[in-house]
């Protein structure tokens, strides 16, 4: 038997809950609010902190928000299956009165989810980084694409000139066409400056497995490779680890080429206080920050259009890292790379964008 006190307590709780419910229904403080955000970003599953791809997009959004005085919000899905929920949530903007001006999907694997949502919300502007979505069916989606093979050719050219063992390596994240663009440009560039150079290509099969990246790099270095281009997300950080360790006992210098963001500082003994020497030779810069910044600018200035926005060497969407505080490349190498860059921009040479050997 419940005591009288108990019954009284239950009645009080019921009255309290009912009162709160009535208040919510009458005044609704949690209903749709004015939308403080202009842009919503759904990041790739690797999440922020990869020091390259997602972080680059984030930096571009921060730059744009400061420049144009706008706000942006973002989410970090944990799995591919979560993408559609986040994108649809932003498109429905149930908690806000006004919709977002732009929703950005980061990463090629969001394409299916984005197409589902974009078909249901034809007036919502979308952008996707790293994937082509057909503008005839989805005129509200801008595809932000990069000629990664052009940037990779530049760092490949540097590798071809800087190698002392005539043997270079490539560690990719996954064996997929997007990563093949990096590998193809890199090997082509190395052959451009050093015809017939030996090369090795391997994949970690994961974007987060630093241990796999390190083991693969250990193997390549012990096989006589002295420069590795790591295009493997966080797995690539293991390549830096390996280079630092093996460099201590190697009779010739070992190098790593970073990817997407400037990563030369990661090759220093203490990356948080970068000081020479570094094992980072250069980095292939894929300026996702430029792409995100530019597409936000388009929306702010009302010049947004669906379809392909291509970022190339010519429009600054790709480049290679020079950080003379940490390492100065020989002038002859810089000159050769700048010549190649000019030739690619002028169109006198064409870089292959898929594996062209077998």
């Amino acid at each position: 038997m419940a005591s009288k006190g108990m019954i009284a307590a239950i009645v009080i709780v019921i009255i309290g809950v009912a009162g709160a419910g009535a208040y919510l229904i009458m005044f609704n403080p949690f209903g749709p609010q004015p939308n403080p955000y202009t842009v919503a970003i759904v990041f790739a599953t690797g999440g922020l902190g990869d020091k390259s791809f997602n972080d680059g997009c984030y930096n571009g959004a921060v730059e744009a928000s400061q420049e144009f005085g706008i706000q942006f919000t973002y989410s970090e899905p944990a799995a591919i299956t979560d993408y559609e929920g986040y994108i649809r949530g932003y498109a429905e903007h149930t908690q806000y009165i006004e919709p977002f001006d732009l929703i950005i999907s980061v990463g090629f694997d969001q394409a299916d989810a984005l197409m589902e949502v974009a078909a249901d919300f034809p007036d919502q502007k979308f952008a996707i980084v790293d994937m082509y979505i057909d503008p005839t069916n989805y005129s509200n989606v801008a595809s932000l694409l990069f000629n990664e093979h052009e940037g990779s050719a530049l760092v490949g050219a540097i590798a071809g000139l800087m190698t002392t063992t005539d043997s270079i390596g490539f560690v990719g994240g996954m064996d997929i066409p997007l990563i093949h663009k990096f590998a193809a440009g890199y090997v082509w560039g190395a052959n451009y400056t050093n015809p017939g150079i030996n090369y090795q290509v391997a994949y970690t099969g994961s974007w987060v497995d630093t241990a796999a990246g390190k083991s693969l790099a250990d193997g390549m270095y012990s096989a006589g490779v002295d420069i590795i281009f790591a295009a493997a997300g966080r797995s690539g950080l293991g390549v830096f680890d390996s280079a630092k360790e093996n460099n201590a006992t190697s009779s010739y210098p070992l190098w790593v080429i970073g990817v997407d963001s400037p990563q030369m500082y990661l090759g220093c003994a203490d990356p948080d206080n970068p000081e020479p020497p570094t094992v980072g030779l250069t980095s292939m810069l894929k300026r996702v920050d430029v792409a995100v910044h530019d597409i936000i600018e388009d929306v702010v200035e009302d010049t947004f259009s669906g379809g392909v926005n291509l970022f190339t060497l010519a429009n600054g969407g790709l480049d290679y890292e020079i950080n003379t505080d940490l390492l100065t490349l020989p002038t002859s190498v810089i000159n050769a790379v700048e010549d190649l860059k000019a030739a690619i921009i002028a169109g006198t040479v064409t870089v292959p964008d898929s594996i062209y050997w077998s």
Binding site: N54, T210, A211, A212, D218
Partner: protein
């Protein structure tokens, strides 16, 4: 293109085998302690992440990797204690609790990563990791020099732990009680030994070993904590435990075998580029071989009382 001798190549594969096997064997041995006692432990992944994070964080603050290892063992054991309380004391469902442990380990370490290092995804580089032991006399011996000449103390401990586990499990009263708790708990109970405590201790030991396996990834072989850096190794460790038939040496051999397949995969990618188009197939081989081995070669026999909460005087 191959510059090194074939012997160097094989030696390197051996080295990778040890590196990749160590976290698997340690976590697999942990799983064995839990399951031999009758508690299913699918939460190894969460406990490994916990160990990996704690090792990196404590080393970051104290600059002493050995304290980091101790803390990792304690943190893994602590998380396992939660599993033990849920499964043994409150007789909860082992799989549900284990799933909770995995999700908690992944979420908590991701959150704390931001709290400790004020950044997302990847912590600061730990400069003073566990130092490798250099054994000069064997460093230049072909085949084994690469693998054993410069070796992490945790790798050595993997072998010690295997022998020790065999001794504890089969030669000590505690081992006998633990096995009884898993096979026939009512007999253990009638002998006057607490089934609950025996099982709880088994679960906690499993967390300690899994935590150590995680610590090897963050401050033994690697040099930083990254979000979800165990990358499913806790589940592979479970497979190694089942493949190894819940016995210490079986788990050691299974773990080394899985590690060897990793090494083989890398070696093929690097040295035999002609096989590169099949890289994904090669990466799949370990799982395929396990299924074949389990299904065709022999059946694994789990402890009889596994996943059944013990209740006194229950009618069978």
């Amino acid at each position: 293109m191959m510059q090194g001798l074939p012997l160097d190549l094989i030696g390197w594969v051996f080295a990778v085998t040890l590196q990749m096997a160590t976290p698997l064997v340690l976590a697999g041995l942990g799983g064995m302690y839990s399951e031999r006692g009758g508690v299913v432990n699918i939460g190894l992944e969460g406990m490994m992440l916990m160990g990996a994070f704690t090792a990196a964080a404590v080393t970051y603050y104290t600059l002493n990797p050995w304290l980091g290892i101790l803390a990792a063992v304690a943190a893994g054991g602590g998380l396992a204690a939660v599993h033990a309380i849920v499964c043994v004391k409150f007789k909860g469902n082992h799989i549900v609790s284990g799933t909770g442990i995995i999700l908690f380990g992944a979420g908590f370490t991701t959150l704390m990563l931001e709290v400790v290092w004020h950044r997302k995804g990847y912590g600061e580089t730990i400069t003073n990791t566990i130092p490798d032991i250099v054994i000069e006399p064997i460093q230049n011996i072909p085949l084994i020099g690469q693998a054993f000449g410069v070796i992490s103390p945790i790798v050595i401990f993997m072998f010690v732990a295997t022998i020790l586990s065999w001794y504890i499990l089969f030669k000590t009263p505690f081992g006998l009680r633990l096995r009884a708790a898993g096979e026939d708990p009512s007999t253990l109970d009638s002998a006057g030994v607490s089934v609950e405590w025996t099982r709880a201790i088994g679960v906690i030991i499993s967390g300690c070993l899994a935590g150590l396996g995680g610590a090897y990834l963050s401050i033994g072989f690697g040099s930083a904590f990254g979000k979800n850096m165990t990358d499913g190794r806790g589940f592979i460790a479970l497979a190694a435990m089942i493949f190894g038939n819940w016995s210490p040496f079986g788990i050691l051999i299974a773990g080394l075998f899985f590690g060897f397949l990793d090494g083989l995969n890398y070696a093929i990618q690097i040295y035999f580029p002609a096989l590169l188009p099949y890289a994904n197939f090669i990466a799949m081989l370990p799982y395929l071989l396990v299924v074949v081995a389990l299904g065709v070669i022999r059946r694994s026999i789990p402890p009889k009382g596994i996943a059944i909460p013990y209740e006194k005087e229950r009618k069978a």
